[in-house]
Symmetry: C2
Subunit: 396 residues, 2 copies
């Protein structure tokens, strides 16, 4: 199939495309209820969208007591690629124009192998998805990387855990390989966009999305838009000082939050506990697998292991303390907790909530939900698809 190249010609068309993306097939009348345009003007714009091929007719809707309406929808052949590169694994998904996931792959990966090796793997995963018949090509791709990004250019800048990626033209390179427009962002921002589009943050204008995985980051949404900061490093909360003169951190400082609670720190603490005989559960798992990760801690905690529960509680307290400060500062309408450690579940959430509700002012916490993300690993790829669709569904 020929790929779509058209873009909306004006703000009205952009608005309509986004309504069709988020609301599925709609009639002109239904669209008219949402856009404050006269029916005649609306019809003109819809007709123009039909001409471009971005939108197609979709049969008749049931009658609502009068003449049946002619539905329109986004072209069913449109395909977006969502890529979420983590420190230790990568997610790739294909969506249609309504951002529904049609196929999803996850593979282990070491981001430190550099952009060339990683892209090879990503492209082969994309090819595999395409080979299943889900897509003949892609109309756009969004991609998330675990580090700061100079957003307009789509280039990682000074990424601590991705040596070799600094300044690599991710956007341009991938766009060339895939033959479609590409947008690049921080993985945490994409998670926030995912939860905003299809998860727990659908109705909230200002919220924080804390992702605890190999590292710790925080997506910041202001007035419905991701805030990226002056140099693209906003939300980089992993190296906020949690303990004065505390543990040394890989960044060179001491007492950073990430040194106390993150996938990496948790794995190290688990190994210590197993070797010191503090947890039979962990020792058994260490013997079985030859190594420990946050997943083992989660499993042991679920089995009632006291040491692991305490580790999670303590880590949750530290994260909660930092989040409490951010809540005082930012006064969000919602805090979402996500990332690899979501498996730690309610124990973690309870510790975080306790700290925030205790330390922040009542006015800021009075009506503040603190919840786990509801999309899990899909948040990133959905956010990635959302990113590129927001771009393509905006006037050129």
């Amino acid at each position: 199939m020929r790929r779509m190249t058209a873009r909306p010609a004006n703000a009205h068309q952009a608005r309509l495309l986004k309504l069709l993306r988020d609301g599925g097939p709609n009639s002109r009348a239904q669209l008219g209820d949402q856009v404050d345009l006269s029916r005649s003007k609306l019809a003109v714009e819809v007709d123009r969208l039909l001409e471009t091929g971005l939108v197609v007719a979709d049969g008749l809707a049931a009658s609502r007591g009068g003449r049946r309406s002619h539905n329109v929808r986004l072209h069913p052949g449109l395909r977006f690629l969502g890529v979420d590169i983590g420190a230790t694994s990568v997610d790739v998904a294909v969506t249609n124009a309504e951002l529904e996931t049609l196929g999803h792959l996850n593979q282990p990966l070491d981001v430190r192998e550099g952009p060339v090796a990683v892209f090879e793997q990503v492209l082969s995963m994309a090819a595999k998805l395409r080979a299943t018949g889900l897509a003949e090509g892609f109309d756009g791709a969004g991609i998330g990387v675990p580090g700061p990004v100079r957003f307009p250019e789509g280039v990682p800048v000074a990424p601590p855990i991705m040596p070799g990626w600094d300044g690599f033209p991710v956007r341009e390179a991938l766009s060339q390989e895939l033959g479609c427009p590409v947008m690049v962002d921080n993985d945490v921002n994409l998670m926030a966009m995912g939860e905003q589009h299809a998860g727990v943050a659908r109705t909230v204008a200002d919220f924080l999305c804390v992702k605890i995985g190999t590292g710790i980051g925080c997506g910041i949404v202001v007035g419905g838009h991701v805030y990226r900061g002056t140099t693209g490093s906003a939300g980089d909360i992993g190296h906020i000082q949690a303990v004065p003169d505390g543990r040394p951190c890989a960044c060179g400082n001491r007492g950073c939050l990430e040194a106390y609670f993150s996938g990496a720190a948790l794995a190290r603490d688990a190994l210590d506990a197993a070797q010191q005989g503090l947890s039979a559960e962990l020792a058994a798992r260490l013997a079985a697998h030859g190594g420990l990760t946050a997943v083992d801690v989660a499993a042991a905690a679920a089995a009632g292991d006291a040491t692991c529960l305490e580790m999670i509680r303590e880590g949750g307290n530290r994260v909660g303390q930092v989040i409490a400060g951010l809540v005082s500062f930012f006064n969000p309408g919602l805090v979402v907790i996500g990332g690899g450690v979501t498996g730690l579940g309610h124990t973690l959430l309870a510790a975080i909530r306790t700290q925030v509700y205790r330390q922040s002012l009542p006015l800021a916490t009075g009506n503040l939900p603190i919840v786990l993300g509801e999309l899990g690993p899909a948040a990133g790829v959905i956010g990635a698809a959302r990113l590129i669709s927001d771009h393509l569904f905006s006037p050129a």
Copy 2:
């Protein structure tokens, strides 16, 4: 003089009014260079503004090599009132439409006496300024209060240091008394707007404005607009935990930043130092005035008193630690330090800078100026005038 009641009829007119406010008298040609409208359309909108009386002709400009241009300017009789209510004093100023300060009064005040007493004083100060012939009436007023505000309604909510103000309809009451439109905001936000309009933050889109006075607050500007949070309490950083299990704070928690460094904490520490004989300088001042404030500490430090210098350094370190966290999180393009303790000057600034540059990541601090506000006590009232002018110079 008859007060102006007109408002811009559309976004173009609003834009033009703001250009005239920020740029002073301008010709049609100069305006045309800034607004991306055809000269004919521009002339139409300017003529309409002239009809409303908001804008008046202002003679001929010098020739630039051809026909001399006809200048227009905002009506010279327009007057805004800026009010900045602090915990212990109040500033009232009158500005013209270009937000130039025409008169400024400062008086001591105890905000805890409640809104009725405070308004009486503010109104008498406004009357005094009017009596000097600066204004015959006010076209609008902006007012800042030292606590969170439900912005759309202009009502303080749960203000910790302003008992008796909770829910008081400040905007409505003052609007009735003054007979003009009124906007209410947090004093810290107004300081940020002041520095943005006429101070150090003129060219920065995203910045933080930390005000250290009786309490500590932080104005947050995102994309040129003040961010107020979900319930209007954004920037309330005084009760972020600076020291785990530290000093008790008035808010009921322990270790809050405000308990360590603010006008009130500094005064208390100074009293302790004087009584324990740690500072001859402070002891002398205590004997002379019967009490100590941050001003005494500043003076003693300026005279080289080691104890006071150490107090400032230590306080600066604590504030700097918190700011370092905020810089990592928010990645601003500028940090402005202001408020009553600005008198502590370079010692304070150096301590803050040290902490931030040491603790935050290079990408966030690489090109981050940390500077003192340049407007001093005028920042609040200028910000207040800016607030109401932004409101009045927007389409109704």
